[in-house]
Amino acid sequence: MSEFEPKIVAFFCNWCTFTAADLAGTSRLSYPPNLKIIRVMCSGMVDPKYVIKAFLNGADGVLIGGCWPGDCHYINGNLKARRRVALLTEVLKQYGIGEERFWLRWIAASEGTMLREVAVQMTAKLKELGPSPLKNMGQMAI
């Protein structure tokens, strides 16, 4: 049986984290293909619905990548995102999807290395945790 390959939906901010992903690409820092990157303009643009949707559709993890506090192109979208992530985490973790599957990370444009690090760590963590509890329920959960 092949090893469990977690699927991670990664919402990356256009300005910093997506640049870091590009930088990782051009620097040939390969990171696990488990990341399914969706570019958004700002981490603050990630609606809780998207995260819920991703989990309901079978994501094993959701990663939001934003600029470090102070870096945000839109000044503070990332800080607003952080509150929302805290809120959504409180909701989801009651039923089994906690901080371990739902990550917010600050990854600056230069941090190609950190991007890889985060991708590697999260993939490893999810492998350890196994598939998302929602996954077993298939499309019945939506």
């Binding site: 590009d22 930088l23 603050g44 643009m45 079978g58």
Partner: protein
């Protein structure tokens, strides 16, 4: 038919911060810009800096245009910059400049890169095989690179090139290059271009450890680095990627780090009697970062002479660095560094606090290396045959300003105008652009004309059917392992995909024709194009699509090459192609649900409102009015002139404010485009860029007047600082510097008989209570007054009691001059302030001499207090009226202290002068020009389209809870009390999507980033296998 006017074109030399800013400003105003840089990359020094104070982070992208954002790239500026009106020529020097203003002929030398970026597929196989290793200058020699290299790690496209000096012509790269992009015999190309104006933004040389003898006492090991090199040590893309702070020699963690200030500056002996201005804050920032990155056990010590925290927020940053982060400041200039065998760096210093000597080992020593301006100035003077002033700098019409004397159409910005930090580079960049724009307006040249292809009707309501066009780009992408046939077959399986075309070189004429041809035949109503460098070709490709009947909103372009490149490391081409196809699915799905987007023309009232009739306000008003913009100038007093313009005859650096104000006043009053409103203040202002309505209230009769205008500039100035310290108010012998200055001018203060004059700096400033900030002008003011006293009465003894002498930049020469004149400077610490007692009607000043550690006392004939500058009393009211915020200190809070220093989050309102923070007149003038230019960009009468992607409100769904208004960082949303609905300022909105998330039922949404699109993309990303129905 009217005669066709030429398109105004400006050459901007130097693509550092100020050059880029000048270029963007001109481009946004509709002029054509050629932006060159000597180095192979853009960004100047800033490309190397990941962190800027005060946030200790980056915010470079904030300098991109806001209103015309869709004409420019919208991604991190470290990747690259694109603007439709800017032609960027990196690695290009200037051979000669001929002709006159309005008609310059410039020989540009495009240096050979030896790799043709148009052919190169950027896979970097050549880098792998290149046998030559040299120091990587981007990382200041702390790392090594090949002779084939990428100048900046973030660059995208990578823009590889070959270092001619290092290359051994072994030819290995030629063997592996799959596209034949390498030509080792390539030559520089010299191209003559005609431009109307030239802006020099080349920056100046930086002091370094290689070329200067005085650095050798310190640079005894690789672990002694310059401050810029230390940025690379800190950087995540630098020497120790993502790790702790390590010392270069052996990569051991550096725990004890020292900074040595004034390296290369403030040195008469080395003929560098100026202050580099930026190093103090740079060092403080680096020390804080070192503490943050390296952990609490890191010791950060800064050896300094004066900690020059003169700018807005600087003093607070210093306080925080010391009090919260534990950065240690020691006022001592050390003689040198001694290297021990274990690599540690020993320094001996005198600690003035304990009055003891210490010998201490450090792991890493950072030299705060300053700027060396003369060489760059001399080079330009030779090339332009322009004169140098007595300091050896290019002569400008006013000192430190942007117009080169006697050279119409030639302007300076950035560090060529003096030694500048980021915000000043930005301001001078905008000011230079403004002067250039004024010059172009006077020449009567035109702005860039857009080709008019009618927008076809959107077929958004039809059942989505997507056409996909993939550019093969001369096998460039093919070489990345993309199997086009498989790609095409895979995509064709999706039900919503109507056609997949693979086209050779879409960017070329043939490819364009092929694309047009294939689209003409298709029944599809949406189009997805995969091409390299999508931003560069975006408009052109959209034009082609429009010709083929596709509405722009229904066309998306993705970076096919970026997708391909991500597969570089993939072992199997076939597998990779399938994965790439999988990635594209999300784009297809998103496009399917994309709504129709519209671009509207912004309604613009071309009038400007300038608040504040001081020198700054009048300068801004004239700058606009001279370009035909009608201006309302509002002044709360009954006369124009402001503080400086009515009280200060001359400044130390040779400006004459009263005369200047008189001249400006005359011009303002006579100007047909300027309407002056005296004795009134702005009570309330509503609206958005292009349509503001402001209510003026007249002080004398309480009447109101309503003005309609398209933009406004706040130049309300400040107030003389007040104090109750040091016996002020108890004796006529105790006065403020301002009072002394007036007294010296009008003769009311007679110094012919005085024996002892004592001046106390920072009275009521730079402390927790009262003015927390440095007022920036007082040291200069005190020195000016002291010199005047000395001139009038050489026998007078003048003592200046100071904390840090804030004579940054070339102002240092006045400090030097003052000392040479025998003025005695006495440092005091805020813990042990001077004390003043009155005895026999004279103030007796007691203080501790910091050098001799002895108590001194001196009866003063005059005690003069530098009380600084208080924020203008109308700041609060103005902030309320305009819905702006104030800093804790009571000055107007700009959008971003570094990158948008004279703007507010809301577009259309700009800031100049002391309303921003205390500053010398030179900076007021620069800011006034810059603010005028910002306003002019939108008031010039050109048609201003909104962005296509902006937020919207679905009125029927909207509950008017106004959470979107509250959350919008740009003030783009407001509640319309009259119509009971949410208004959107389409110019201000940057489509960040915060409102859409805050709005729980999507009554607020960003067009083009809707929930349906995003959720379809999530679906696509998580689809395990292609649709079964597609088989």
């Amino acid at each position: 038919m009217a005669e066709e006017k030429p398109t105004g074109t400006v050459l901007v030399v130097g693509a550092g911060i100020s050059g880029i800013k000048a270029a963007i400003e001109l481009a946004e105003s509709g002029y054509k810009v050629i932006l060159t840089d000597e180095s192979p990359q853009m960004g100047g020094i800033l490309a190397k800096l990941d962190y800027q104070f005060p946030t200790d982070h980056c915010g470079m992208c904030r300098m991109l245009p806001l209103v015309g954002r869709e004409y420019a790239s919208q991604y991190c500026m470290r990747k690259s910059l694109f603007h439709e009106n800017i032609e960027i020529l990196p690695f290009t020097g200037i051979d000669s400049v001929q002709g006159n203003g309005g008609n310059y002929r410039v020989d540009l030398r495009k240096r050979a890169r030896f790799i043709d970026p148009a052919i190169c597929n950027e896979l970097g196989k050549c880098i792998d095989v290149c046998p030559v290793e040299v120091e990587d200058e981007f990382n200041h020699g702390l790392t090594r690179r090949k002779a084939v290299y990428q100048a900046v790690p973030h660059n995208n496209p990578r823009m590889l090139l070959i270092d001619k000096q290092a290359c051994t012509r072994c030819g290995e790269c030629l063997k592996v290059c799959p596209t034949g992009a390498i030509n080792l015999d390539a030559q520089d190309e010299v191209e003559t271009r005609e431009v109307h104006a030239v802006i020099l933004a080349s920056g100046v040389q930086l002091y370094n450890t290689r070329d200067f003898e005085d650095a050798r006492s310190y640079a005894v090991s690789p672990d002694v680095v310059t401050s810029l090199a230390f940025e690379r040590v800190l950087s995540s893309s630098g020497t120790y990627q993502g790790g702790a702070i390590r010392r270069p020699s052996d990569a051991r963690p550096a725990k004890k780090i020292a900074w040595i200030q004034c390296m290369g500056s403030r040195n008469r002996r080395q003929h560098r009697d100026y202050c580099s201005s930026i190093c103090c804050m740079f060092a403080l920032k680096e020390a804080v970062l070192a503490k943050q990155k390296g952990g609490p056990e890191v010791e950060a010590t800064i050896f300094y002479m004066d900690m020059r925290t003169f700018g807005k927020g600087f003093q607070q940053y210093r306080d925080k660095a010391v009090e919260e982060h534990g950065v240690k400041l020691i006022r001592c200039r050390v003689q040198g560094v001694m290297l021990k065998p274990d690599g540690s760096l020993m320094m001996r210093y005198h600690d003035p606090e304990t009055n003891e000597f210490f010998e201490k080992d450090f792991d890493l020593v950072v030299l705060s290396t300053g700027q060396i301006p003369f060489e760059a100035h001399r080079r330009w003077a030779d090339l332009l045959k322009a004169p140098l002033d007595e300091r050896g700098l290019l002569a400008t019409e006013q000192p430190g300003m942007v117009r080169v004397a006697g050279k119409p159409g030639l302007f300076l910005c950035g560090s060529l105008t003096g030694l500048t930090d980021i915000s000043e580079a930005i301001i001078s960049g905008i000011a230079a652009a403004g002067e250039a724009a004024k010059f172009l307006t006077a020449l009567g040249v035109d702005t860039v004309k857009k080709e008019d292809i009618p927008e076809p009707a959107s077929k958004a309501r039809e059942l989505p059917l997507v056409a996909v066009a993939l550019c093969r780009c001369g096998e460039k992408t093919g070489a990345a392992g993309l199997d086009y046939e498989l790609f095409r077959a895979e995509l064709t399986r999706y039900p919503s995909v109507g056609a997949v075309q693979v086209i050779d070189s879409i960017c070329k004429a043939d490819g364009e024709a092929a694309l047009l041809d294939s689209l003409a035949k298709t029944a599809c109503n949406r189009l997805l194009i995969g091409a390299c460098q999508p931003f560069i070709y975006r408009r052109k490709l959209k034009d082609v699509a429009r010709k083929a009947g596709f509405n722009s909103a229904m066309v998306e372009i993705f970076d096919l090459f970026g997708v391909a490149r991500r597969g570089m490391a993939e072992p199997s081409a076939a597998d990779w192609t399938l994965r790439a196809a999988g990635e594209i699915k999300a784009d297809i799905h998103s496009l399917k649900y994309k709504p129709a987007l519209q671009v509207n023309t912004l309604p613009i009232n071309q009038t400007a409102l300038v608040i504040g009739g001081g020198i700054g306000g009048m300068t801004a008003a004239l700058s606009l009015a001279d370009r035909g913009v009608p201006v309302h100038l509002v002044e709360k007093e009954g006369h124009l002139g402001g503080y400086l313009g009515t009280r200060v005859e001359h400044t130390i650096d040779g400006l004459a404010p009263v005369a200047l104000a008189a001249d400006l006043r005359q011009k303002v009053l006579a100007h047909k485009h300027i309407t002056v409103h005296l004795n009134c203040e702005v009570e309330k202002s509503l609206g958005t860029l292009g349509r503001f309505e402001s209510q003026l209230r007249f002080k004398n009769n309480g009447e109101n007047k309503y003005l309609h205008h398209g933009a406004m500039i706040i130049a309300t100035g400040g107030r003389e600082g007040a104090t109750t310290e040091y016996g002020y108010g108890t004796s006529e012998k105790v006065l403020t510097q301002a009072e002394l200055k007036r007294g010296l001018t009008d003769g009311n203060v007679d110094v012919s008989e005085v024996e002892n004059v004592v001046m106390i700096q920072c009275a009521g400033s730079r402390q927790k209570e009262g003015r927390r900030y440095c007022s920036r002008i007082c040291c200069l003011g005190a020195i000016g007054n002291a010199l005047e006293i000395k001139e009038k009465n050489p026998d007078a003894r003048v003592f200046i009691l100071y904390r840090d002498v804030m004579t940054y930049g070339f102002y240092e020469q006045y400090y030097t001059k003052a000392r040479a004149a025998g003025i005695i400077f006495v440092n005091y610490s805020p813990d042990a302030k001077p004390r003043v007692e009155m005895a026999e009607g004279r103030p007796v000043v007691k203080f501790t001499d910091p050098v001799l550690k002895e108590e001194m006392e001196l009866p003063a004939d005059l005690l003069v207090l530098s009380t600084g500058v208080d924020p203008g009393e109308s700041n609060q009211g103005l902030a309320d009226a305009l819905n702006l915020s104030l800093t804790e200190d009571g000055f107007l809070a700009e959008a971003d202290s570094k990158w948008r220093p004279i703007e507010f989050q809301k577009v259309g309102i700009y800031l100049a002068g002391t309303a921003h923070s205390p500053m010398p007149l030179k900076n007021v003038l620069l800011q006034a020009e810059a603010a005028a230019q910002k306003a002019y960009t939108y008031l010039s009468g050109r048609e201003l389209p909104t962005a296509a992607v902006t937020s919207m409100v679905k009125d029927a769904l909207c509950a008017r809870c106004r959470r979107c208004v509250n959350i919008c960082p740009y003030g783009a949303r407001s509640y319309n009390e009259a119509d009971k609905c949410i208004d959107i300022d389409a110019a201000a909105c940057q489509a960040c999507g915060l409102c859409a998330v805050e709005c729980q039922n999507n009554a607020a949404e960003v067009r083009g980033w809707g929930d349906k699109q995003l959720m379809a993309a999530i679906d696509a990303k998580l689809m395990d296998r292609p649709l079964a129905s597609a088989g």
